[in-house]
């Protein structure tokens, strides 16, 4: 209690907000004191507001690039004794920041999106509200069933399509489809300062992202099985794969230059190596029935009656989840920014 006051002090009230225990003397007092209960509930309301704000925080970007971490901490501590010039330290941080990437693909300037709660009328659990686009929601998950013009996305979201719904799916391409000016997303491995591409997605999504770094991929994902040499020892829960997204220049047989532009690193050019084993994904229009059952899909639209999502666009995505449907961004409800949809897609997949 407060000295000189019969009521709980702030510390006791907040402790009860977080860890209410019926055996606690403070809880016993709380049960018998309406004034303290009211006060506690006011703090609970504040706490709920803070938590809602935090829950709306877009996912953290990817970890620092591995090159920035290659020096052992002990070596870094030694170098701190003879403190490097500030400019050099700033450059190290810039490299780290520049190389930071996106577990799942967030971009600069993204706005927050909020998960729709099943408690809110007119919405369905599993849908993600697109911030700044009233009534617009995004659904992401596994395509469980297609019946006529309707699809079921697990977990149990019904998506209705119409003649105006733009539906796309990834299709296999060849390295010759990679041409100058295309925006591509590359997954691969570093080899002598060059990125040997394992997978290249052409105009398939996240066109605003121009980044270099690493990306987290679940070990059980099909992509991870393609790259067992990248598997890290347990108990790490993710694999960290080199990733780059940018615009193609100087495309030749066997290689191209990837040009990255973003506010942190400015302009950077990376040589990307391709081979016959490089998996190339492009995007093609499709009908609903052409989408693969069991595949990952994303749909954006408005909520109709009974919580059905009336999709303006729907896309099958690649196994990594990084290469999402570019058409989502090209055909979007008026007033919705690409960033807002990207953020909702990332949140829905997180």
């Amino acid at each position: 209690m407060n000295a000189g006051s019969p009521h709980l002090d702030l510390g006791q009230l907040l402790a009860d907000v977080d860890y209410a225990s019926p055996d606690d003397p403070a809880s016993a007092h709380l049960a018998a004191c309406p004034a303290c209960r009211t006060e506690k509930d006011r703090w609970a309301a504040v706490a709920a507001g803070v938590r809602q704000l935090a829950a709306a925080t877009p996912p953290a970007p990817g970890l620092l690039a591995l090159p920035a971490l290659t020096r052992k901490p002990s070596a870094l501590r030694q170098s701190r004794v003879t403190r490097p010039p500030r400019r050099r330290r700033a450059a190290a941080v810039a490299v780290a920041a520049a190389a930071a990437l996106v577990a799942g693909g967030t971009a600069y300037g993204l706005t927050a999106a909020q998960h729709a709660s099943s408690a809110r009328p007119g919405t369905t659990a599993g849908l993600t509200a697109v911030q700044g686009c009233p009534g617009t929601y995004l659904a992401a998950g596994t395509l469980a069933k297609v019946s006529g013009t309707q699809a079921i996305i697990q977990p149990r979201i019904t998506v209705a399509t119409s003649a105006s719904t733009v539906i796309t799916r990834p299709v296999s391409g060849t390295v010759s489809d990679i041409t100058d000016g295309s925006h591509v997303v590359v997954l691969g491995t570093w080899s002598r300062r060059r990125l040997a591409a394992t997978e290249v997605g052409i105009e398939v999504g996240l066109p605003r992202v121009q980044r270099l770094g690493i990306v987290a991929v679940a070990p059980q994902s099909p992509f991870a099985r393609q790259a067992p040499h990248l598997r890290k020892s347990t108990p790490i829960k993710v694999l960290l794969l080199p990733f780059a997204a940018g615009t193609v220049a100087d495309a030749h047989r066997g290689s191209f230059t990837l040009v990255l532009r973003n506010p942190v690193m400015g302009v950077r050019r990376i040589q990307v190596l391709t081979s016959n084993s490089t998996k190339v994904l492009a995007r093609a229009s499709a009908s609903l029935s052409q989408l693969g059952i069991g595949g990952n899909v994303v749909a954006v639209g408005k909520i109709g009656s009974r919580g059905v999502l009336r999709a303006s666009t729907m896309a099958e995505t690649s196994v990594t989840g990084i290469i999402t449907g570019g058409s989502l961004l090209k055909v979007r409800p008026s007033g919705c920014s690409a960033a807002a949809i990207e953020t909702a897609a990332v949140l829905a997949g997180s």
Partner: protein
């Protein structure tokens, strides 16, 4: 009033459910100290796991203060680079969560200083809450969670910061005091002032509706 109390309790439950998956301070601390030991030995996988445990919560806290996504991301990366460098200096005198948030706070302070912004506005903090439930307190009683969340954005950086540490990052009040490097009593008065300011914002917004 009972309706409001039920709503507040529901809101707290909902808020907890919506809090990032890796926000459990206890879980994070249990593994965090061991991870820091491995990080000090140069284990990159441990660094990745540490980031997995703390990154989202730290980002949420930074974003609450700086309110600019790109800046918050950069501060997060600076923070993690600092963790990589300073892992061996962790002495378990504080929880891992409060330790990493302290680092993030220093990084944010440096960044904001460079931008000539003030993290702490003492003038705003000087207001003490009234003992009686004034209109701003009643406005808080009536507000929905989303309205409270919106109103928090209007508070000063220092007020958002202390609320975030106490309710978002899940630190105890003594840990909040440690992170902010202020006495426990000041933490309490800062929290109370933040709540009063929050009620005031809600009251003003209510008048405009």
């Amino acid at each position: 009033l009972s309706e409001h109390l039920v709503r507040a309790r529901t809101a707290v439950t909902a808020g907890r459910a919506a809090w990032p998956q890796h926000a459990s301070s206890e879980d994070a601390d249990q593994n965090g100290a061991e991870l820091l030991g491995r990080i000090a030995g140069g284990d990159q996988a441990a660094m990745a796991e540490f980031y997995h445990l703390h990154g989202q919560v730290v980002l949420a806290q930074i974003l609450l203060v700086v309110q600019e996504r790109a800046v918050a991301e950069e501060i997060l990366q600076d923070t993690m680079l600092a963790v990589w460098r300073a892992a061996a200096s962790f002495r378990a005198e504080s929880s891992v969560r409060s330790w990493v948030i302290s680092i993030a706070r220093r990084q944010a302070r440096d960044r904001l200083r460079r931008h000539r912004l003030r993290l702490v506005d003492q003038d705003v903090l000087s207001g003490q809450p009234s003992a009686d439930p004034g209109p701003e307190v009643l406005a808080l009683d009536r507000a929905a969670v989303a309205e409270v969340a919106d109103a928090i954005r209007s508070l000063t950086a220092a007020q958002r910061e202390v609320l975030g540490l106490a309710f978002g990052a899940g630190l105890s009040l003594p840990e909040v005091a440690q992170v902010l490097e202020i006495p426990l009593g000041t933490v309490k008065s800062r929290l109370a002032a933040a709540r009063t300011a929050l009620g005031r914002v809600l009251q003003e917004e209510g008048q405009h509706r």
